[in-house]
C-alpha cells in the first residue's frame, strides 16, 4: 500500500505504545504527519479544519490503538480514521466560506515570472478541486495523489471497487472541464 512504508518500524512503535510507552507514539506522529496533512488540506481546502482533523485523527488512533488488529498495518488503519474524520468535517463546514490555499511562502511568489505562473496554475487546481462533489474529490485524492489501489480504497471508504472507479473517472472528467473554463487545458 502507498501508506505504510516502514511497516516493521511502525509495528515496533505500536507494540511499545501498547506496552505503556506513550512517548513512542511521537515516532508514529512524526512519520505520518505530513502524509495526513496533505490529504486533509487537499480534501477540506481549509488549513484550520485540516489541522483539527489531523490532530483529532492522531488522538483517536491512540485511544483506539488496542483495536488495531495488525500493528504492521497501522498506516492504512490511521489513514482510514482520517478519511472518516474529513468526511464529517466537510459535512459540518459545508456552509462555511472556503479558503483558497497557497502552500508557498508569499516572499517567493513575485520573485520569478514562471513561479507566479505556477502558483496561478496551482490555485486553479485548488479552485477546481473544491468544486468537485466531495465523494469524487475523495476518490481522486486517494487514487491519484495518495496512489492507493482500488482494493485499498474500498477498504478505507467502504465503497465498492466499481463505484470508486466511476467516481475517479467522473472526477477526472469534471476537473478537465473546470480547468478548461480557466483556459489552462
Amino acid at each position: 500500500m502507498g501508506i505504510g512504508e516502514g511497516m516493521s518500524k511502525d509495528a515496533d512503535l505500536v507494540r511499545r505504545v501498547l506496552a505503556g510507552d506513550a512517548a513512542a507514539y511521537g515516532g508514529l506522529v512524526a512519520h505520518y504527519r505530513d502524509r495526513l496533512a496533505r490529504y486533509a488540506v487537499r480534501m477540506l481546502g481549509d488549513r484550520g479544519d485540516a489541522e483539527e482533523a489531523v490532530q483529532d485523527a492522531f488522538v483517536r488512533a491512540y485511544r483506539s490503538l488496542p483495536r488495531c488488529d495488525d500493528p504492521q498495518r497501522f498506516g492504512p488503519w490511521l489513514f482510514g480514521i482520517l478519511v472518516n474524520r474529513c468526511r464529517t468535517s466537510y459535512a459540518r463546514r459545508a456552509r462555511r466560506e472556503r479558503v483558497v490555499l497557497h502552500d508557498e511562502p508569499a516572499s517567493l511568489v513575485a520573485a520569478v515570472a514562471s513561479t507566479a505562473e505556477r502558483l496561478e496554475w496551482e490555485a486553479e487546481i485548488v479552485w477546481a478541486l473544491e468544486r468537485l462533489d466531495p465523494l469524487y474529490r475523495e476518490a481522486f485524492l486517494l487514487r491519484h495523489v495518495e496512489d492507493l489501489s482500488y482494493d485499498e480504497m474500498a477498504t478505507l471508504t467502504g465503497a465498492g471497487v466499481s463505484a470508486l472507479k466511476m467516481r475517479v473517472l467522473r472526477a477526472c472528467e469534471r476537473l478537465r472541464v473546470l480547468l478548461k473554463e480557466t483556459d489552462r487545458v
Binding site: 505504545v17 501498547l18 506496552a19 505503556g20 506513550a22 512517548a23 507514539y25 511521537g26 506522529v29 512524526a30 504527519r33 505530513d34 496533512a37 496533505r38 488540506v41 487537499r42 488549513r47 484550520g48 485540516a50 489541522e51 483539527e52 489531523v54 490532530q55 483529532d56 492522531f58 488522538v59 483517536r60 491512540y62 485511544r63 490503538l65 488496542p66 488488529d69 480514521i81 472518516n84 474524520r85 464529517t88 468535517s89 459535512a91 459540518r92 502552500d103 505562473e117 496554475w121 496551482e122 487546481i125 477546481a128 478541486l129 485524492l141 491519484h144 495523489v145 477526472c172 472528467e173 476537473l175 478537465r176 480547468l179 489552462r184 487545458v185
Partner: protein, 188 residues
C-alpha cells in the same frame, strides 16, 4: 501549461495529481499538541494472555454458511426457543441501575465551550458541559449510562450543533441536525 485542446484525460489527471502531491506543511506545533493530548490520556497497559483470548473472542468474524447448514441452525434456534418458552425460562438482563462510565471526547481547539446533548439528558444543552482535558482543545466528559443505545451530539459555543466525528451517525434525524449513536454494553 496546456497549450493543446486535445490533451487527453490522462495528461490532465497526471498534471493535476503532480501539483497536488506537493508537500503541505501544517503548524509545526501540531506534533506537540498531539503528544500533549496523548500523555493526558490513560497509558495503555500490556494485555495478558487472558486479555488476548477475550479480545479474540470479541472480534467480529465473517462465517460462510451453506443454505442447508443455515436451515439446520434455524431449526436448532427454534427448538431452543420452544423449550425455553415451554419451561418458562427468560433471558437474564442486567439490573437497570448497572451503569457504565462512557467518555465523550471532542477536539475543538477554537471552541470556548462544548456541551453534550442526547437522549440521556433530554437534549438539554446546559446539563452536561465538557471540560478541557489538556492544552490544545481536547474536551472531555464522562457520563454513567445504563445499557442501551443513545443518540447524542455536541453543541459548540452554545450554537453550533455537531455530531461526534468518531462515532456512527444516527440513521435519521427528526431534529434536523446530525447526531451520533453510542451503544452501551449489555443484552441488546
Amino acid at each position: 501549461m496546456f497549450e493543446r485542446d486535445d490533451d487527453t484525460l490522462t495528461d490532465v489527471t497526471a498534471r493535476v495529481a503532480a501539483s497536488l502531491k506537493k508537500a503541505v506543511r501544517l503548524d509545526p506545533a501540531l506534533d506537540a499538541r498531539v503528544m500533549a493530548h496523548v500523555t493526558a490520556l490513560p497509558v495503555h497497559r500490556p494485555v495478558g494472555s487472558l486479555g488476548r483470548v477475550w479480545s479474540w473472542l470479541r472480534r467480529p468474524r465473517t462465517l460462510a454458511v451453506s443454505p442447508l447448514a443455515g436451515l439446520a441452525a434455524a431449526a436448532g434456534i427454534a427448538a431452543i426457543v420452544f423449550v425455553a418458552a415451554r419451561f418458562g425460562r427468560t433471558a437474564v438482563t442486567p439490573p437497570a441501575g448497572d451503569r457504565t462510565p462512557v467518555e465523550f471526547l471532542l477536539v475543538a481547539p477554537r471552541a470556548a465551550s462544548v456541551m453534550l446533548v442526547g437522549d440521556f439528558n433530554d437534549w438539554t444543552a446546559s446539563a452536561t458541559p465538557l471540560h478541557t482535558a489538556a492544552a490544545g482543545g481536547l474536551w472531555a466528559v464522562t457520563v454513567p449510562l445504563a445499557p442501551g443505545r443513545y443518540r447524542y451530539a455536541f453543541v459548540v459555543d452554545g450554537k453550533r450543533w455537531q455530531p461526534d466525528p468518531s462515532a456512527p451517525p444516527a440513521p435519521d434525524d427528526e431534529f434536523g441536525s446530525p447526531s451520533s449513536v453510542v451503544t452501551v454494553g449489555g443484552t441488546l
